[in-house]
Symmetry: none
Subunit: 189 residues, 4 copies
DNA sequence: ACCTAAGCGAGACGGTACGTCGCGTCTTACA
DNA sequence: TGTAAGACGCGACGTACCGTCTCGCTTAGGT
């Protein structure tokens, strides 16, 4: 059994809280390890003891829900098209409010040199369990839908739209999500 | 009329050549102003005289075709769907070769802090003239196509796919572009 | 006979005026060639055409009386001790007023790497013609004085006092010059 | 009680050693912070952590005896005039050898912008304890001497001679110190 | 009345050094 | 042994001046 003081949960929490606050206020790029340490009242060494890099802290903050804190789980009501449309609307609406698009785009930039962050963003956006591709596949197998495009392509197109919105800051147009999903899934009704 | 010595075209060209070479060799993030200056045989001050930041240099290198040098103009043969499919295939094939996806994704990350770069990337990818949305709109007006989605949505979906590919490094699957464009534009043939 | 435009006296004068003003305002060290050029409305090239260095400009400004502009000629009334005392009093009084000590000390600092400046300062302080040593020698030869110290030593001591005053910023005490000169020249009266 | 790592004595010593060596080799003006850092194998930041400016480093090097390392303490044998004469001879002889006059004059120039340096030079030359003025005062009170000039004036004259020597680079003449001190202190013997 | 060789302002250029920031590693003293 | 504090070597930042070098204009003798 290890001797000496145990890992300080207070320090741990302070780090995550500070990094979330800083990312929100100044953006990912302008966040520095020294800034986090100062804001959290923690020594740099403590940070480096638990995290190998700035992006690892961000990744954990994502997992802990300190960033992108809302619940973006894809609902499961039996109507796959409606579920996905509702979820997409939720995501796009979220991006259109406050500086959430800026937050997400700075995280996307971060994910370029940290695949981990990309993965955590996906999870946070509700894609941690069954992905859109899987949902579509299942619905197709069940005869619920018969889309022209493959489930993977549909997944990619929808996530691509989210990315474009995060990067481009376009406003959200009422009903857009429903129309898009409807078209992609060939929901004729 | 401006007085004083004119801007040195030699220095100008050397800067752009060096930045292109460096981005290619070490990646966007690892490029430094001092590195550019050293490689170009130019003083830092000369760089700062003409560019406010690293991203401005990248933006100009993009405009000058020193990065993403290929011709990605969307063809115009009369068949809009085929034109766009051919163009998309070209872009996706390009991204699948060498370290081009890494290059583009690092540029996308850069564009988060520099809208200018985002704009120049679009231009370089052939979207500087009539956009996909415009092409689709024109074809729809001419009765050539009657897609379910709006031209803007189609545009966004297609560009979104390119982004996803750049960020995700998936390989390109033969014929993918054609299938995707076909489905989005409702080309039943 | 030379052809082409003649040296611009306007530029010449503007340079000297600016350098004098700048030395007075910011001190020798903080004066820059670029600052002079900007203040004088003159190009750097024009300055370098006529002066090899900053200290050369200072030297000329001294010669022209733009710095240390007062007349410090040693009087010649026949009474050597009184002459020197009067002169010394004049110099020390000058140093005690305004920021003249600061000016002189910055010039002394300049003279460390520019003997030319040292020479010009001496001239300006009235030592350009017969030096103190020469005056004392002459008075000694004439039987007017019979000092214990050699003329050169006396000269050095008196100039040394001026230096100390310039460097040390002590205030001037009424009658000090007279007492000092009296003692050094053994004027018993 | 201060926490954190203590100041590195190794770095501290290396800085002082380097600055002493550089001043000796290239002269005060040509010494740069970057040069010191490179020579000492120390980062610039470490230098700036402890010293606000180049002159502060010089001041400390003076205090530590890395520059003007000789012992210039004024002796105290009971014979004040002889003590001062011996000390002055020591100083003037020192200045006449090697490039010591150049060293001192560059330090004097530096002291124009840094009173601290001026103070440290005085201390180094043996004037840190009882000054010449104090020694003369004491001797006068004891009836040992009865000089015409005030102790302060004598002090100033003697130090002025040292300055003149430093700035003027005259050679030292055998016995000069003794004659000078003799005359100023009215030692008739 | 033209040349044409200076002089001139403006200012770009390759450099060197500045003083600052943040990195990731380390050392110290305390709990 | 974990922690806050903080020093350290390092690399890059963006700025200030250096002294040299074009530019295009003005000026004024020589033909």
């Amino acid at each position: 059994m290890p001797r000496g003081a145990a890992r300080s949960e207070a320090a741990h929490a302070a780090i995550l809280a500070s990094v979330a606050s800083l990312v929100d206020r100044v953006g990912y790029d302008a966040v520095t390890i020294e800034g986090i340490a100062a804001e959290a009242g923690v020594s740099k060494q403590t940070i480096y003891r638990w995290y190998p890099s700035k992006s690892a802290i961000i990744a954990e903050a994502l997992v802990e829900g300190r960033l992108l804190g809302e619940d973006f789980t894809i609902p499961d009501t039996g109507d796959t098209a409606a579920d996905i449309a509702a979820w997409l609307e939720h995501v796009l609406t979220f991006l259109a409010s406050r500086n959430h698009a800026a937050l997400l785009s700075s995280l996307v930039a971060a994910s370029v040199d940290s695949p981990e962050i990309g993965l955590r963003i996906s999870e946070r956006l509700g894609l941690g369990g069954p992905t859109i591709a899987e949902r579509v596949q299942r619905a197709t197998d069940a005869g619920e839908l018969s889309p022209v495009l493959s489930p993977d392509q549909i997944d990619q197109l929808i996530v691509g739209v989210i990315m474009m919105r995060a990067l481009g800051r376009n406003p959200y147009e009422q009903g857009e999500a429903r129309r898009l999903v409807g078209a992609l899934l060939e929901v004729t009704g």
